[in-house]
Subunit: 560 residues, 2 copies
């Protein structure tokens, strides 16, 4: 047995509350090394005749990556307390793995065992229940639709008349969104994530000037209220973008610093290195990246914290928004986010808190900060396999299995699964225009665990490279929209909504990768299962289900 | 290379802020598998010509357990941000380990690398600076000294006239402690940890009746104030015991529940399963263990939370205590402890918060909850090796190395290192009366990283088995005290205080285990080093330093 590869540590993805009575416990072992693993467990205080009263339960192999197997068990401790260890069986030996290390026989000293001391409902990571059934649509407001020409900023270009650049404007606004809500309803989305809408300088609005005002090119607060109400009336939730890591250059407190320097009452709102504060040649203050026009906010300053938390509460309280997506969330302190969660959930307990974190985000997903993060590890692997064909089917299956084992199931079920965004090239471009690849991407995304997000225009085949290319004006001319793709996406969303096994209410696991281009996976629950055969090649061999399905009660359905 | 054994995940003990500018980064590999490891690192936004600007730095092997090696590097990222990976070199191969897995050559796509997004001072685990130089002394107030007979509870026995039982009383009180403070000063301790002092039913006082009152057998608030002031005058800090997991049976809110049942306004203060609430045959409510007289408090009820937090603040604010030791801390919810930290630190920022957790306590030591925990993993291994001789010297060295690598260095430096307590047999009993073993235990404890605690009476050789045996009356008859041991402990505390290398201001590492009974370790810093040769056998072979020490500038000192 390769003991060096065995890993378990309580909490995080290895031992966590799934609900207030249920623990999920997992252990990592070397791939294909163990024949079986059992969970040894009991209440820490349950002793008879100086012997701890432990029980045992087989664990199931929940998935494998390139190097490791993961084993899983679910348990409901009657007194909400648990001590536990693992009985590991390989071809040659049996041993017991505990916090105290490995033993040849089951240790009686309870100090050796792992501990989950108590299941407290208040510590449970509990996302809003509506999120699990939400299909998101991401809108970059400047580029979705121009519904009120009177609001056009200076030098606004005719809709779609030019390529998007970092500086040009096309006049997208809230009225434009309202005008097209029926399109979104018809498509089946029931959540919109808006990139920033507050007063800012640029077309992307990530350089905030006033967190309490709607950017005049999009409308005013009345228009925003109309928009939110119109969405809610149609069963669509609204999520805004909170850019709290940094402000824009024209944020008045930063302007005050530039003007009054060390005499500015806002000098502690930022991370200034020296005086005079200058943006030339390099900024001498902390910034987002090295971008002088985005000075980093000092979120541990109580004044700044108070200002931003008031902002966060204001848009929830006054406009009833349903979620906050947190920009550059990983570079803001954990303390701030803990207070942020308390603040917004105190106003509206079922607000969704979504962090922008591209890497492993476990430290933000322990119940005290975010509900979910943008699942870029999912994105990257889906793109690498389906669009770019840079990894093989087994590599893809192992990588996705790894993604699923990085976090608790609670996190996976509300993970924000995107295929692209305003920060990446569009899928049509990544797939080299290959419609079949795009269809497979959507099929995989929309049948996967989590809460999927479509980037505006992808569903009609819009192309575009990296920012600013991916931020083109939405194509509203139906003749220029890929109606077949739109119809396909519409069908998938329908399946996701109407078939619980297809949607977010079933377990996911890979069954096989018959060759380098094909993956077979299932979605299952107690009521049954769906089998998926995805062939990412131009070789038309039809994958058959004979190996997996019980023919007598199965129905085949082929999307070709 | 055994890739399956390689482990790293940012935060916790693998990547953490040591101070507001410094990161410590560690990686686990299979024991004796790698020849070298280098840290590959850079600012995430530092790119030139589409190439990430990464640097590299050798890591040093900081220790080995039975299965693994740990490699360590310290780094000060100039912009407080870091992306990083590891270059791993074995006899046969070189590869790169990142969040994205293993690569044969260094990946250019930064998405693969591990991320420590930003070093925020506010997220730093920062214990009070005074703790590092504190030698604690634990007092069980009922059994330390009876200084005011007028306070004796009914049926108080003459001091030391009987063996301790779960029910008997000897009249220990605050005046008794005050009377013997000079003894403690002379011994060299500068912190006292008192087990509970609030009104309670039992002699141990862990079954609180009134959290806002001093138990009348110990004195009143005036006496407590005199005690704290007398301690502070002598440079001794005072830590009290907060029993917030459960109350006592006679806690008025619980009595109210028993009387008024579902009509009690306190019914949500506990975790009741059904009515009528009864303690017979088994309690039908959550308890500490299965002890009906210790009903578990509902610490997520805002009323209970408010009551307990007011209590916690009260004793700090009104009596200027210096620390809270948190009883059964692991079974109280994390949310409560986060608020607890905010509450007490808002009153006195340098209060020490010490959790009673016997197992791996990483989830409580992330900067948002405790400063430290009672280091029972250290205790157990020290006892197993020095007192019981149940493990060999290599096993001991590996186990202690594992303990040191479980937590960030910040945690280790203020870990509460005890050899025994009111909850365990005394060291003299565990060592079977062997004075040399006791001396080695003290030598190891007092030269180790962390903040050591002596259990009252151990220093004069008192014996006693498990609770209640370990709770005997302090022996004040000097003829019955082991003066040699007392003098030895006194010397060690003196060395710890006067020699920074001996104390808590140097790095610790094992150098060798020449045989199953002997360990060699060093304490070192930039100024020099101390070598320790501990021989835990009756075989008098003197271990020599020739292999390790530079004879020309070394001085040998032998405690025999």
């Amino acid at each position: 047995m390769l003991k060096e590869a065995v890993y378990h540590r309580p909490k995080d993805n290895f031992a966590y509350m799934y609900d207030q009575d249920t623990l999920h416990i997992l252990i990592q072992t070397k791939k294909d090394d163990l024949k079986s693993v059992s969970l040894i467990y009991g209440d820490p205080y349950d002793w008879k005749e100086e012997k701890w009263q432990a029980d045992s339960k087989p664990m199931r192999r929940s998935g494998s990556t390139d190097l490791h197997d993961y084993w899983f068990a679910e348990i409901k401790p009657p007194f909400h307390r648990l001590r536990y260890g693992f009985r590991c069986k390989s071809e040659e030996e049996v041993c017991y793995f505990t916090e105290g290390g490995f033993f040849d026989s089951m240790p009686n000293d309870i100090a050796n065992y792992f501990c989950f001391p108590y299941l407290h409902a208040v510590d449970l990571l509990s996302s809003p229940s509506w999120v699990k059934d939400t299909v998101w649509y991401q809108i970059f407001p400047e580029r979705f639709a121009n519904g009120d020409a009177a609001l056009n900023p200076p030098d606004t270009l005719a809709w779609g008349s030019a390529k998007p650049t970092p500086e040009n404007f096309f006049g997208g606004d809230f009225q434009g969104v309202i005008d097209h809500l029926d399109y979104l309803v018809e498509l089946g989305v029931n959540g919109i994530y808006f990139t920033p809408v507050f007063t800012a300088y640029s077309n992307h609005k990530y350089d905030t000037i006033d967190y309490m005002q709607i950017d005049p090119q999009f409308g005013d607060k009345k228009a925003f209220r109309r928009l939110v109400d119109a969405c809610h009336k149609r069963g669509i939730r609204v999520m805004l973008d909170a850019v709290f890591n940094h402000s824009g250059y024209y944020f008045p407190p930063f302007q005050d610093v530039l003007t009054h320097q060390e005499k500015s009452r806002y000098k502690d709102w930022f991370h200034l290195w020296e005086y005079p504060v200058t943006t030339e040649k390099y900024p001498n203050y902390d910034t987002f990246g090295f971008v002088g026009s985005m000075p980093k906010l000092n979120t541990s300053n109580p004044e700044v914290k108070n200002y931003l938390l008031q902002t966060a509460k204001y848009w929830v309280e006054e406009f009833n928004i349903d979620g906050w997506r947190l920009d550059v969330a990983n570079e803001v302190d954990h303390s701030f986010w803990r207070e942020f969660r308390q603040a917004v959930k105190s106003i509206k307990p079922d607000v969704y808190i979504l962090g922008e974190i591209w890497h492993d985000a476990m430290p933000w997903l322990r119940g005290d900060q975010f509900d979910a993060v943008m699942n870029y590890p999912f994105t990257n692997k889906a793109i690498d396999f389906f669009a770019k064909q840079e990894i093989t089917a087994p590599e893809f299956a192992e990588a996705i299995t790894k993604v699923l084992h990085m976090y608790p199931a609670n996190v996976n079920e509300t993970a924000f699964n995107l295929l692209d965004s305003h920060d990446t090239p569009r899928i049509a471009t990544l797939a080299g225009g290959n419609k079949n690849k795009i269809r497979l991407l959507y099929l995989f995304q929309l049948s996967f665990i989590g809460t999927p997000c479509l980037y505006y225009g992808d569903e009609i085949g819009m192309t575009g490279g990296h920012d600013p290319g991916c931020r083109a004006c939405m194509e509203w001319d139906e003749d220029k929209q890929d109606q077949q793709l739109l119809s396909f996406v519409h069908s998938l969303i329908g399946l996701r909504k109407n078939e619980p096994l297809f949607g977010n209410h079933a377990d996911f696991r890979f069954l096989e990768t018959p060759n380098d281009k094909c993956v077979v996976y299932e979605k299952s629950d107690k009521t049954g299962r769906l089998l998926f055969f995805l062939n990412n090649s131009s070789n038309g061999t039809l994958l058959t289900s004979s190996k997996f399905a019980n023919k007598t009660d199965s129905v085949e359905w082929c999307l070709s």
